[in-house]
């Protein structure tokens, strides 16, 4: 059975309100009345609606201001404005503010329903368009990798080509950028999951044990080697071995790994024989391996063997366009049975955060917020983001540092200060405008 569409009707007059609600209910919509902008915003924060009718003249927050606030909470929802007696100027203001359309009072039932149907048709087309783009892989996702930034799109376009080859891949990027996800995506694209994907963290296992894990051992090779073990390279058998934290591998094991990569064969611990391997090697590190080579900590020949296809995952702070799609995916991952939304102000806060722990930290924030908040629409105030520590100066310190250099243009300083005030007011533009002593329009203009 199709879900009943929910419509919010915001008008301060009880007769107008009741008539629209009753006409909509008669047509099978689930319509609810609201008498003020403030009340409607509170409801939109806690409930989901498919469309909203808004009277222009409301006590307190007026209809035009309300459109902006509604779109902060739920940007995709169509807002239809009801305006009195052909005030074209007001109607134009409403459309500029983002209204889907406007209706003149007294609203004719036919016009009311037609306008609503048009809004839903338009919304469905937009949705369909979005899904088609996703299907064409021009969207925000490739396998489990998510991102809308140019950097991620470039990586998406590389994945198919990488998957077709058998060359070694070296993925670099800060901790939490999704190196393992990228490795799994490359593997899945090549093998369609019918071959093994074997991830191993080189920093988590002592070198002696790691050697046996990777290359295998024969029975009696060392104390405790009660049985023959094949080793992960052999077990992969046409699949992928993902060597995470390769930069932490000890020198001796680096030498042995180099030999495996050169010979495409392993010699199990305690054995004199070599076993050929058929495994794709993907390595990853958050270290600068060139620096490690110069410091004599990483073998140059191993680096060049691994770095046949280099892929760099930039930190999240350098690709804020990815934060929205990632946050939405994490919301779905952690509460698929009860999908919730982030308000525009919450997304703004997430986009401005520094994310030293990258996507992993973002996922933690989303998971923590979902656990501690019941809101249907998560606002900026519900997000629980850890404050930056002393090693990472906060935004205001950054502004002051830039000013002290006496080389930063005023416009740039102003932009930094506005961004910091917005961060501290959790993206609340009204509050930020008050702090800055400017009106909201000026804030928008200067913030652009």
């Amino acid at each position: 059975m199709q879900k009943m569409k929910r419509i919010l009707v915001v008008d301060d007059d009880a007769v107008v309100q009741e008539r629209i609600v009753a006409l909509l209910q008669k047509q099978g919509y689930q319509a609810s009345p609201s008498s003020s902008g403030e009340e409607s915003l509170a409801r939109l924060h806690s409930e989901s609606f498919d469309a909203t009718f808004v009277d222009v003249q409301l006590p307190g927050l007026n209809g035009i201001e309300l459109i902006g606030e509604i779109h902060e909470i739920t940007p995709e929802m169509p807002v239809i404005v009801i305006t009195a007696y052909g005030s074209l100027e007001t109607a134009v203001d409403a459309l500029r503010a983002g209204a889907f359309d406007y209706l003149l009072k007294p609203v004719k039932p036919h016009d009311l329903l037609l306008c609503l149907e048009r809004a839903f048709t338009m919304r469905a087309l937009e949705q369909e368009n979005h899904e088609l783009r996703l299907a064409l892989n021009e969207g925000d996702q490739f396998g489990d990798l998510i991102g809308a930034s140019a950097a991620m799109r470039k990586i998406f376009s590389m994945i198919r080509k990488i998957a077709q080859s058998t060359s070694n891949v070296l993925i670099t990027g800060e901790s939490g950028t999704g190196k393992d996800v990228l490795a799994r995506t490359i593997h899945a694209e090549r093998n369609h999951s019918d071959r093994a994907y074997i991830p191993i963290n080189c920093s988590a296992i002592p070198d002696g044990l790691l050697e046996s894990e990777l290359f295998g051992h024969v029975k009696g090779a060392f104390t405790g080697a009660y049985e023959h073990k094949a080793g992960l390279f052999v077990e992969a058998d046409g699949g992928t071995v993902f060597l995470d934290e390769i930069g932490e591998l000890g020198w001796s094991l680096q030498t042995k790994l180099l030999r495996v990569l050169q010979d495409r064969a392993v010699r199990p611990v305690g054995s004199t024989e070599t076993i050929p391997i058929d495994a794709r090697i993907i390595a990853a590190t958050n270290r600068n391996l060139k620096e490690a080579m110069n410091a004599g900590e990483f073998r140059k020949d191993l680096f060049y063997r691994l770095n046949v296809i280099p892929v760099h995952l930039p930190p999240l702070r350098e690709r804020p366009e990815d934060i929205g799609p990632l946050a939405k995916a994490f919301l779905l991952r952690h509460e698929a049975d009860r999908p919730r939304r982030l308000s525009e102000s919450a997304l703004g806060v997430l986009r401005r955060a520094r994310w030293p722990g990258n996507a992993r930290e973002l996922e933690n924030v989303i998971e923590r917020t979902l656990a501690l908040s019941d809101a249907e629409v998560i606002g900026a105030e519900q997000l629980i983001i850890e404050e930056p520590d002393a090693d990472h100066p906060d935004g205001l310190e950054q502004v002051l540092e830039s000013a002290a250099e006496l080389e930063t243009p005023l416009k740039q300083l102003e932009a930094l200060y506005i961004a910091e005030v917005l961060r501290r007011t959790h993206g609340n533009k009204m509050q930020a405008a008050r702090v800055l002593g400017v009106n909201r329009t000026t804030l928008y203009r200067r913030g652009e």
Partner: protein, 133 residues
């Protein structure tokens, strides 16, 4: 019964000017139940609005007069009540022009027009209820 007859007799009822019945029914998609609900709501809300309007006029609060007039105009538009609507448009225009002296006179015209709307609405509802199967 007298009222019902009056409502059914177009000659005795100069009601088109008070409430345009055809337009009113079109506004509720011909649904008498919606019409009844609106009539009840209007009888309550208009009393409150008129009292608030009187109080705003006594205090010469021109902004509040404009706001309340606008609010009532919305309801009277929905109820297809052109005479009361026109009276409110005049009152609002007086408030916009800050013609404080004229406000009380205009208010009385509004009150009387709204009372007529109540009467005619009651007639229409009663007549339509009798016609229902």
């Amino acid at each position: 019964m007298n009222r019902v007859r009056r409502a059914l007799d177009p000659k005795q009822r100069s009601s088109v000017h008070v409430v345009n019945e055809d337009e009113l029914l079109a506004n509720v998609s011909g649904d008498v139940h919606i019409l009844k609900r609106l009539t009840v709501i209007f009888s309550q809300s208009s009393e409150n609005d008129l009292d608030a309007l009187r109080s705003a006029i006594d205090q010469a609060d021109l902004i509040e007069i404009q706001r309340l007039s606008h609010k009532m105009m919305g309801a009277l538009g929905d109820l297809a009540a052109p005479a009361a609507l026109a009276a409110l448009v005049d009152l609002r225009a007086r408030a916009v022009a800050a013609d404080v002296d004229a406000l009380s006179g205009h208010y009385e015209r509004v009150r009387s027009a709204v009372e007529r709307v109540h009467e005619v609405l009651a007639d229409i509802v009663q007549a339509r209820s009798l016609q229902e199967p």
